[in-house]
Symmetry: C2
Subunit: 433 residues, 2 copies
């Protein structure tokens, strides 16, 4: 079991320890890459059992984090997110069983061809190698991300928040015990033995040992990871998602979709932050939509034209300022703007959006196709809620995160996104001539 | 036509100019992303015509580079690589016509499903956006890389060697004229108006404006790009490719494949640099293979056991030192080592290889499958020459480069590798519940 660092460590020492950790993870990754589906599932099943049978030990580790967090003044929802109780552990075990049921992506053929010279060529999925997950707060991520990486044959280094270090180490210990029970190297799941911030910086430099970093959390965490990294990073900074209500929108559909996109769950990246509405639809439709939103407890921030329409209708709305349309509210607040055309909506999204998820509400198929073609976002919907941009909703079975990058994976990332491929060529002496 | 910088430029000025260039390219990328296949092909066809009709102007621009290069002492093959004559221009025009014939990857469906709630979901290929190509010497790359990016709907910023700046600018001008003739923005193909090295560093910082960098050239260039980049980079540093002759190798096949892998063209990344041969096969087979290699003008550098076998057979071979097996010879030199087992071959490749291309020569299918499964390289062949790891040989129609990275694209990269995807969802009012 990794030990907690007690004394202050010097940087060269820290660098050497992180390199040693990553070297161990890399060796484990080689074994995991050729592990059978049955072996990987056995590890996951064993870990699921241990989440129940080791509940007392896990709660004891968690209690250390909880008391330190309380002592440092943490309370309310933040403290709750840190807590591992029987219910949380049961849900984590259930999650592991769902990962067991997912198809193993490793070995799947992406393409196959026989070349004119007779070479049989296959493009086959294989694990990426070692993946560094950097995250905040909720210790659940240790089990969720660790199990998805394990199932896809990758080793993982899990670096959570310092306030959850005991909990994360204990949960990783469960996955490590599962690996051991299945005859696989326990270094397939690693937690650094320090909460020193500089450790992340050292890990992010280890090109050749760590293949990919996936930061999960607030924008400042993600930016810090991206700036320090010498290895590839897949990420999304923000979800500034837009609902564009076209002039040909069905009014009832527009009301339903705006409310669901904004209010179904406000703290998540695929919640809508901005409503754009066509000038022809706004006078009649905007007040109706706004009433629904206000009834749901939502505040509105309107650009001048929207503000005027809402004021005239007696609906509370404050004036948008320069920062409004660049703000990811993650709360019951919505930015509202009237636009003159679909073009103007696309331009607004290009300028202020985060390329995450946008939706158009319209009965006009050609408007929908133009919007989907021209908007440069990971998910572009027609007559559907932005909240549907999600790995489970997309049928990926699970989600390791959502990417607003364009390289490797875009949008919700499932198990396939945790793989690369290799080209396997079977010949009979083919040469280059 | 971009101007050459004459006076020294200050860094803030340079940064502002590079940002302006990338902003222009990004706007062009948006237009290219929705351009029709016919429009893109028209631009390419027009450029192909201009390569012939503007031959005098192109040769005049090239003459400026050639005379400066001669004055600075360049000669022989290096000078030849810089030269644009009628033959080179004709081949470039032919290449453009081949790109016209390639299928347009944009709009191709990667997956399609109907979700349980009725949402019709499609994962559709789209361009990446703006791609920065950093390369050395041969001005041909301007046309080859520029045309592949154009066909795949991306804008390109092409930054070649300073000794080819006039030629590169003139060739980019041909592509720009093609874009203009097809009603597309000429900023779809850009060459910075400076050869200042710091310009590349500025471009590599422009996250949000440039989506991907592809460096092509020697290892030092590629490392410099990777170290400075704040944007994703796809690259390969080296091609240290291995041929492993198994104990169950067919002797004639082994001779043919080693010679072809090493000597068919020595200066390229998929040429073999190391021969590993099983200890049971080595006494009889190594001398025969070595004779063929020496007859082809190849020098050998042997680890002790290989050295002893070759000395006993009277075949010239010098002793390998520590650096030997880490060396990408790119020349008529081959590192040779006897290994005790397939395991030892895999371990050697893991330790010394560059994860580019390896091949096993064997009649034993289970050995071949173990090798293909365990070797962590972009291309892993069985009884085929390493020289076949190539976009054309793989049927990709063209090659923008070869990636030894694991993220986004691995191995030979064709047009598909220049695309990302978006998720398009068509609904009828689906919400998250």
């Amino acid at each position: 079991m990794p030990r907690m660092s007690t004394a202050a460590t010097t940087l060269p020492d820290l660098a050497a320890r992180m390199r040693a950790l990553a070297t161990e993870a890399r060796a484990a990754a080689r074994a995991l890459a050729t592990a059978s589906t049955a072996q990987k599932n056995e590890a996951l099943a064993r870990a699921a059992e241990l989440l129940t049978s080791q509940r007392a030990e896990l709660e004891a580790a968690n209690a250390q984090d909880l008391s330190a967090a309380k002592a440092s003044g943490l309370s309310g929802p933040k403290l709750d997110r840190l807590r591992l109780d029987g219910g949380v552990l049961q849900r984590l075990a259930e999650g592991l069983r769902q990962v067991i049921d997912l198809p193993d992506p490793v070995g799947a053929e992406i393409s196959r061809s026989t070349r004119p010279n007779g070479l049989n060529l296959r493009q086959v999925r294989c694990p990426i190698g070692t993946i560094l997950i950097v995250f905040e707060s909720r210790p659940n991520v240790t089990v969720e991300a660790g199990s998805l990486c394990l199932k896809s044959g990758n080793a993982t280094i899990l670096r959570g928040g310092r306030e959850a270090q005991h909990s994360n180490t204990a949960l990783a210990g469960i996955l490590r015990a599962g690996l051991r029970a299945a005859g696989l190297p326990e270094a397939g799941v690693c937690v650094p033995d320090t909460t020193d911030r500089a450790a992340v910086g050292e890990l992010l430099k280890l090109e050749g040992l760590i293949d990919l970093a996936i930061p999960r959390g607030g924008e400042s965490l993600i930016r810090a990871v991206a700036e320090q990294a010498r290895i590839p990073v897949i990420k999304h900074y923000q979800g500034i998602c837009h609902v564009y209500v076209d002039r040909a929108a069905d009014p009832e559909l527009a009301r339903k979709l705006v409310v669901n996109s904004k209010l179904q769950r406000v703290s998540v990246c695929n919640a809508a932050e901005t409503l754009l509405i066509h000038a022809e639809a706004a006078p009649s439709l905007l007040p109706a939509i706004a009433k629904d939103l206000v009834a749901g407890g939502c505040e509105l921030r309107g650009a001048p034209q929207a503000l005027a329409i809402l004021k005239a209708a007696g609906i509370p709305c404050s004036a948008a300022d320069e920062a409004t349309f660049r703000t990811e509210w993650l709360d019951k607040v919505l930015s509202v703007k009237v636009v003159e055309s679909l073009d103007a909506a696309v331009e607004h999204i290009e300028r202020f959006g985060s390329r995450h998820t946008e939706t158009i509400v319209t009965r006009d198929e050609s408007a929908a196709r133009a919007f989907q073609s021209r908007v440069d976002s990971a998910s572009v919907f027609w007559n559907a809620s932005t909240r549907l941009a999600d790995g489970f909703e997309f049928g990926l079975g699970a989600e390791i995160g959502i990417s607003t990058d364009k390289i490797h994976a875009r949008g919700p990332m499932g198990l396939d996104s945790l793989t690369t491929y290799k080209w396997l060529g079977d010949g009979a002496g083919q040469i280059r001539t």
